[in-house]
C-alpha cells in the first residue's frame, strides 16, 4: 500500500508541523493515522470548543459535567442519572428510520460506560417536506420481511450480512452481482473477503455471525410450479423451502408439498396471506439460483424482517419531529439516552492504576469504518454518495448482550474504568482513558481479535467496528471479568497494560509501531474562522408580520394547522417504538415531556428533546434561547424541576463564516438561557457539515432535558380531565406571528422575527407550573408552542377526550391571539375552587393568568366577537391523529 500523505488523511500542513514539533521527529504512518482521526472535527471539536466554553456546566447536583462518556446528575437516595445525546445524521442519510431505531449503539454504550443502565431513549428527527416521495420513503423506513432459510435461493431472497463491518440486508442476487460482475451461462463462484453472514449454529443452537466464503450463481434446470386456490403461481426449485402450516408453521420443501397444504405467500410490501395449494407440477425451465458457502456451517438465515423498533430492551419514550425543506438532503437523526445507576457504582473512562489491564470486550475488529470520524467531518457531495456507508443496521442483538455483560462485569468490582469504543475505535478509547488519568498505556495489537487476516496496525488502530468496549480491569482480578464475558458469548481480550509514563505505546509482532503522548492526541488544535452574518437574515426578518389579513374561515385554517406534519400527532411514529418496556414510563409519549418513575422511590424523571430550527435560522441567538426555554417548559408542564441539559448541535460546514456566525450566536443564546434558568449543560455533541451543494440544514441545536419530580403523584399531564374545569392561560400573548407554523402553513413564508424571549418571565412561569403541581392546583398543564393557543387547546382536548369552549379576552385580531407563538406560556385547567389559590400564587410570582374558557362537552368552541370555531372533537381528532399516516399513504 502506498503511504498516504498527511493531506490525504485529512490533516493540514500546520497540523502536521505541529505534530512533528511535539514529537521531535517525523510521525510514522500509524501515528499519523491516529492523529488524523483524533484531530478530526468530530473527535477534536476544533471549531466548536472555544464557543462551547460559554455553556454553564456546574450546579450542586452535577456529579459529572462534559468531558466524560456522559454527564451525570445526583437525584438523591444514592441514585444518579447519566445522559448524553448524539447525532447519526451522516450514516442515516440513506435510511433514517433504521438509523434512528437501531443505529443507537454508540449512545447506549456511552451511558453504559458510566456504569448506569440505559432506561430511556429519545429521538429527535428532522426530515424534508413530507410531500416529497423520497422523504416519504425515508420516513417510512420500508422494510419488507421475508423469512426463509435454505440452500438455493431465488434472486430476490434477502440475506443479512456484514460487509466490511457494515450490516446490510440485500438480495442474494445483488450479493452475487457484486462479487461476480460478469454473468455466464455456466455455474460461477467467487470468493469473498470480510463478509459475514447471519447463520445458525446447530451445535450450540445459537445465532452467530459466520464468515461467508463463497457466493455461487447457477442456472437450475427444473422447477416446481405451485398453484394456490387464491390463483397465485410460484416457481421454485424442488428443494426450496416454503412456509407452510403443518401443526404449526414449518418449512416444507416445495417438492414435498401436497394439495390442500396451507402455505403463506408474501406479496410485495404486503403481509403473508394463507392460501391452499391447489396443484403442484414439474416444470422443465431454466432459471438463475444462488447460494452462499459459509464457514463451519451451511445454515445461514435470510432476512426475517427488521422492523423499525429497537430490540435492546430500552424504551423510546419521547422525542420530536419536524419537517422542513432544508433537511431534504440531510435529514437529522439525534438520539438521546438516559441511564439510571447508583452513585457508588459510577464508572469513569479513566485508565487508573499502573499495571491494570486494558481489556477489549464485545465484537471482533474488522476493516469497517476506517476513518469514519473523518468521514463525518466533510460535507455530503456528489462523490460522497459513493463514500457513504451502506445502510447501517447496527447489531442491536449483540448490543443487548453487551449491555447485560458489562453491567454484570461492573458488579464484580474488578473494573476501574469503562470507555465506549466509538469513533476512532481503539485509538480514541485508549488515548482518552490514559489522558484523563494522566497515565500511559502499552498495547499489543496481536491480542486484538480480528475478523480478517492480514490487517495492518494502521487498520486495527483506526477500525470503527461496532459493539466493542474498553474495560480497565484491576490486575489479578481479570478472571472475574473473563467469566462474565464467556457467559454472554462475548470476546474477552486483554490488549494492553496501564503504564506510568503518559505514553501510548503500540506494539505489533514484537515491534513498537507507534509511541505518542496520550495527552497530545487528546489536544487537537483550535481554529477561529471569522463569523460572517449571512445576508438572508435581515432580508427575511424584515418581512412585515404585523398586518396580515385575518382569515375568512378560521375553522379551515385551524384544521389545516392541525394536519400540518409539524403539529399533527406523532402517534404513527411512537406506536412503532416500544415505549413501555422496563415498566417505568408513567407519562407516555404524546404530551409535553415523558415521565419515568424511579422504582423503589416516590420520584420520577421527566425527559424531552426540543429544537426549532426555523427560529434559529431566522435569529440564532433568540432561537438558541428558545430551544432551552421551550424544553424547560415541557419539563415543568409535567410538574418536574428542570435539572440538566445534554445537547446536539447540528450545523453546516464550520469552515464557512456564515455557519460559524449561526453557531456562535446559537450557542450564546443557549448559554444565556441555560445560565439564567440554572440548568447546566452536562454533555453533548456537535455535528457539523450537514449540507449538500444544494442545501444547508437550518442551524438546529437540539436540547435534551432532564427534570426531577419528588413525588410522581403530583405529576401533570396534557389532557383535560373534568367537565366544568376552568381553562386558564398562564403568561401573556403578544401578536407574534414571525417564524410561526401559521405563517409557514397558511402564507407559505419562513420569515419574520421569532417570538421574543424574556428569561425572567420564563423562570416565573415555570415556577408557577411546578409549584402549582406540588399544591395540586391543576387538573392539566400544557406548554404552548408551535401553532399557538389554538393548537394547545386542541391537544389538551383530544388527549383528554373532552371538549372545551373559549372566549377570547382580547382586542387583538383573533388570528394573532390564536396562532401567536409567544413564549413563557402554559395552558392549564383547574377546578373552580382552586382558582383563588392559583391567583394568589400567580400574584406572588408576578405571572399574569387569564381564565379564558371551560372544559366540557364533545365539541371545541371558540368565539371572539363572533363564533370562530365550532367543531366536533371527533372530527378534529381524526385529522390530528391520522394526518401523518395519510400524508405517507397519499
Amino acid at each position: 500500500m502506498k503511504r498516504p500523505t498527511y493531506k490525504e488523511l485529512g490533516l493540514t500542513r500546520y497540523e502536521y508541523e505541529r505534530i512533528k514539533r511535539a514529537l521531535g521527529r517525523e510521525p510514522n504512518l500509524v501515528e499519523l493515522g491516529m492523529f488524523s482521526v483524533l484531530w478530526s472535527e468530530h473527535c477534536g471539536y476544533k471549531h466548536s470548543r472555544r464557543f462551547l466554553k460559554l455553556f454553564p456546566t456546574q450546579a450542586p447536583w452535577v456529579i459529572q459535567g462534559p468531558g466524560e462518556n456522559a454527564g451525570v446528575v445526583d437525584i438523591g437516595d444514592g441514585l444518579c442519572i447519566a445522559m448524553k445525546m448524539e447525532s447519526h445524521n451522516h450514516p442515516s442519510a440513506v435510511e433514517p428510520f433504521q438509523g434512528a431505531a437501531t443505529g443507537i449503539g454508540g449512545i447506549v454504550r456511552d451511558i453504559l460506560a458510566m456504569g448506569t443502565r440505559p432506561i430511556a431513549l429519545l429521538d429527535s428527527l428532522r426530515f424534508g417536506s413530507l410531500s416529497s416521495p423520497r422523504v416519504k420513503y425515508l420516513f417510512q423506513g420500508v422494510v419488507s420481511g421475508i423469512s426463509f432459510y435454505g440452500n438455493c435461493l431465488p434472486a430476490e431472497e434477502k440475506v443479512v450480512l456484514k460487509i466490511k463491518g457494515n450490516m446490510e440486508c440485500i438480495s442474494i442476487e445483488e450479493l452475487a452481482n457484486r462479487f461476480i460482475p460478469i454473468k455466464e451461462d455456466f455455474p460461477q463462484a467467487a470468493e469473498m473477503e470480510d463478509v459475514q453472514i447471519l447463520s445458525f449454529d446447530m451445535k450450540t443452537r445459537s445465532i452467530c455471525w459466520r464468515r461467508a466464503l463463497k457466493v455461487f450463481r447457477r442456472k437450475a434446470p427444473s422447477f416446481m410450479e405451485v398453484t394456490t386456490t387464491s390463483g397465485r403461481k410460484i416457481l421454485a426449485t424442488p428443494e426450496h423451502p416454503l412456509l407452510a402450516f403443518r401443526e404449526g408453521l414449518r418449512f416444507v420443501n416445495v417438492g414435498e408439498l401436497e394439495q390442500g397444504d396451507t402455505v403463506f405467500l408474501f406479496q410485495d410490501l404486503s403481509y403473508p396471506r394463507p392460501t391452499r395449494v391447489l396443484r403442484v407440477r414439474d416444470i422443465k425451465e431454466e432459471r438463475w439460483v444462488f447460494d452462499v458457502e459459509v464457514e463451519d456451517t451451511h445454515l445461514f438465515l435470510t432476512q426475517a424482517g427488521f422492523a423499525v423498533h429497537n430490540c435492546i430492551g430500552v424504551p423510546t419514550v419521547a422525542g420530536e419531529i419536524y419537517f422542513e425543506e432544508s433537511y431534504e438532503d440531510n435529514p437529522l437523526v439525534n438520539v438521546m439516552c438516559v441511564g439510571l445507576g447508583r452513585i457508588e457504582e459510577l464508572q469513569r473512562g479513566r485508565a487508573e492504576g499502573v499495571g491494570n489491564l486494558a481489556v477489549l470486550v464485545g465484537s471482533s475488529t474488522g476493516r469497517d469504518g476506517i476513518a469514519g470520524a473523518a468521514f463525518a467531518s466533510v460535507e455530503l457531495g456528489p462523490e460522497s454518495e459513493t463514500k457513504r456507508p451502506q445502510v447501517q443496521i447496527g447489531d442491536p442483538f449483540s448490543e443487548k448482550l453487551l449491555i447485560e455483560a458489562v453491567l454484570e462485569a461492573i458488579k464484580t468490582g474488578a473494573i476501574v474504568g469503562v470507555q465506549d469504543m466509538g469513533a476512532a475505535g481503539i485509538t480514541s478509547s485508549t488515548s482518552e482513558t490514559a489522558a484523563r488519568a494522566g497515565r500511559g498505556m502499552e498495547l499489543d495489537l496481536d491480542k486484538v481479535p480480528l475478523r480478517e487476516k492480514g490487517m495492518t496496525p494502521f487498520e486495527i488502530m483506526l477500525s470503527e467496528s461496532q459493539e466493542r468496549m474498553l474495560l480497565i480491569v484491576r490486575k489479578g482480578e481479570e478472571g472475574k471479568v473473563k467469566k462474565v464475558m464467556e457467559k454472554w458469548g462475548l470476546n474477552y481480550a486483554p490488549i494492553g497494560v496501564v503504564t506510568p509514563d503518559g505514553v501510548l505505546r503500540v506494539k505489533h509482532r514484537g515491534e513498537v509501531v507507534a509511541e505518542v503522548p496520550a495527552k497530545l492526541l487528546a489536544e487537537a488544535p483550535r481554529y477561529r474562522p471569522k463569523p460572517v452574518k449571512p445576508a438572508y437574515v435581515d432580508e427575511l426578518t424584515s418581512f412585515p408580520t404585523d398586518n396580515l389579513p385575518e382569515p375568512e374561515d378560521y375553522q379551515g385554517v385551524f384544521l389545516q394547522l392541525l394536519a400540518s406534519p409539524n403539529i399533527a400527532s406523532k402517534e404513527w411514529v411512537y406506536e412503532q417504538y416500544d415505549h413501555m418496556v422496563l415498566l417505568n414510563t408513567v407519562i407516555y409519549p404524546g404530551g409535553d415531556a415523558s415521565l419515568l418513575r424511579i422504582k423503589g422511590t416516590r420520584k420520577g424523571i421527566a425527559v424531552k428533546t426540543d429544537g426549532n430550527g426555523r427560529y434559529v435560522y431566522l435569529n440564532p441567538y433568540r432561537g438558541g434561547m428558545i430551544a432551552v426555554a421551550e424544553a424547560a417548559r415541557n419539563i415543568s408542564a409535567t410538574g418536574a424541576q428542570p435539572l440538566a441539559i445534554t445537547d446536539c448541535l447540528n450545523f453546516g460546514s464550520p469552515e464557512k463564516g456564515e455557519v460559524i456566525w449561526q453557531f456562535s450566536e446559537a450557542v450564546r443564546g443557549m448559554a444565556k438561557a441555560a445560565s439564567y434558568l440554572n440548568i447546566p449543560i452536562i454533555s453533548g455533541n456537535v455535528s457539523f457539515y450537514n449540507e449538500s451543494p444544494q442545501r444547508r440544514v437550518f442551524p438546529t441545536p437540539v436540547v435534551g432535558m432532564l427534570g426531577l419530580i419528588e413525588d410522581i403523584d403530583n405529576r401533570l399531564t396534557t389532557g383535560f380531565k373534568k367537565e366544568g374545569d376552568l381553562i386558564a392561560l398562564v403568561g401573556e400573548t403578544f401578536p407574534e406571528i414571525g417564524a410561526s407554523e401559521y405563517l409557514k402553513e397558511i402564507f407559505g413564508k419562513v420569515a419574520g422575527e421569532p417570538p421574543l424571549v424574556d428569561l425572567e418571565r420564563e423562570w416565573r412561569a415555570n415556577k408557577l407550573c411546578i409549584e402549582g403541581a406540588r399544591m395540586k392546583l391543576f387538573s392539566s398543564a400544557h406548554d404552548i408552542s408551535e401553532g399557538g393557543l389554538a393548537v394547545a387547546l386542541a391537544e389538551s382536548s383530544i388527549l383528554g377526550k373532552i371538549g372545551a369552549s373559549l372566549r377570547l379576552p382580547t382586542s387583538m385580531p383573533p388570528s394573532y391571539y390564536l396562532f401567536s407563538e409567544s413564549q413563557a406560556r402554559f395552558l392549564v385547567s383547574l377546578s373552580p375552587e382552586n382558582l383563588h389559590r392559583l391567583e394568589g400564587l400567580a400574584e406572588e410570582l408576578g405571572v399574569p393568568i387569564t381564565v379564558i374558557g371551560e372544559v366540557g362537552g364533545k365539541r371545541l368552541y371558540i368565539e371572539g366577537e363572533r363564533e370562530l370555531i365550532n367543531l366536533s372533537l371527533k372530527d378534529i381528532e381524526k385529522i390530528f391523529r391520522f394526518a401523518i399516516q395519510r400524508a405517507i399513504e397519499e
Partner: protein
C-alpha cells in the same frame, strides 16, 4: 402456606424479563428466579413465565430458535406435569413454535411494529389464568409486537372455539368485536389461547405492563394473581 415460585426464563435477547420478575416479586409478592436458557431443570418452580423480547434477535422467525434451547425441554416436561406456563408476546411465539400451543403468529396486517393500549374481552374465566376475571369483562392492556396476528386453519380454529381455548379477544371498549379494534388482523380477534389441558397460556398483550395503577391500568395483575392463587389451592 409458602410462596408460589415463578421461573422467569431468559433467552439472549429477552427484554421483558426484569418486568415480569418485578411484578411477581414486588407487586404480587411471590417468589421469582431468573432461569438462563441453558438450564434444563425447572422442577423447583410452580409457574413458568416466558417473557417478551427478541429471543436470539429473532433474526429468523420469531421464536423459531428459542424453541431449540435446552430450557424448552424443561418447560415441556413441567407442562406435561400440569404446572402453569404462561408465554407473553415473544413467549407466546416461542410456545407456538415449540408446539406447546396450536396455531401460528404472523406479521401484523399493517406490517408495522405496534406499541399501544388495546381492549380485550375475557372469553373464558374457568381457567387457572383467568378465574379472577368475570366472563365478558373488558380489559385495557398494551401490546408491543410486530408478529402477533394469530392464525389457525379452519378445523383447528373450530376446535379451539368449541373447547373454549380462546381466553382473550381484541374488542372495542364496550366489548364489541369490531374490525378496527383488531390491531394486528388476528383470526377471530384472538389475543390469547390456552392449550387443551388448560395449563399453558399464550397471549400477545403484556399483562406485566398494566399491573399497577401508576402505569395507567391494573387489568393485567389478576392474570398473575390467578396463577398464584390457583397454585396455592393445589399445594
Amino acid at each position: 402456606m409458602g410462596k408460589v415460585k415463578f421461573a422467569v426464563v431468559v433467552f439472549p435477547g429477552t427484554n421483558c424479563d426484569m418486568d415480569c420478575y418485578y411484578v411477581v416479586k414486588e407487586v404480587l409478592g411471590e417468589e421469582a428466579d431468573y432461569v438462563w436458557h441453558r438450564e434444563e431443570d425447572l422442577s423447583p418452580y410452580h409457574c413458568i413465565i416466558l417473557p417478551g423480547g427478541f429471543s436470539y434477535g429473532d433474526y429468523l422467525r420469531t421464536g423459531a430458535i428459542a424453541k431449540l434451547s435446552p430450557v424448552m425441554e424443561g418447560v415441556r416436561r413441567e407442562a406435561e406435569k400440569g404446572k402453569l406456563v404462561i408465554g407473553i408476546c415473544n413467549g407466546f411465539q416461542i410456545l407456538v413454535e415449540a408446539g406447546l400451543l396450536p396455531g401460528a403468529l404472523l406479521k401484523n396486517t399493517n406490517l408495522r411494529f405496534l406499541c399501544k393500549f388495546v381492549h380485550l374481552r375475557v372469553e373464558n374465566n374457568q381457567t387457572p389464568f383467568t378465574h379472577l376475571y368475570k366472563e365478558g369483562e373488558v380489559l385495557r392492556m398494551p401490546i408491543a409486537h410486530y408478529e402477533g396476528r394469530y392464525f389457525a386453519p379452519p378445523p383447528l380454529l373450530q376446535s379451539l372455539e368449541k373447547n373454549k381455548q380462546v381466553l382473550l379477544r381484541y374488542s372495542d371498549p364496550e366489548g364489541k368485536l369490531k374490525e378496527e379494534a383488531n390491531p394486528n388482523g388476528s383470526l377471530n380477534f384472538i389475543a390469547g389461547i390456552v392449550n387443551e389441558k388448560g395449563n399453558v397460556f399464550g397471549l400477545m398483550p403484556h399483562p406485566e405492563r398494566c399491573s399497577e395503577e401508576v402505569l395507567s391500568s391494573e387489568d393485567g395483575f389478576r392474570i398473575f394473581k390467578s396463577m398464584a392463587d390457583w397454585m396455592k389451592a393445589q399445594l
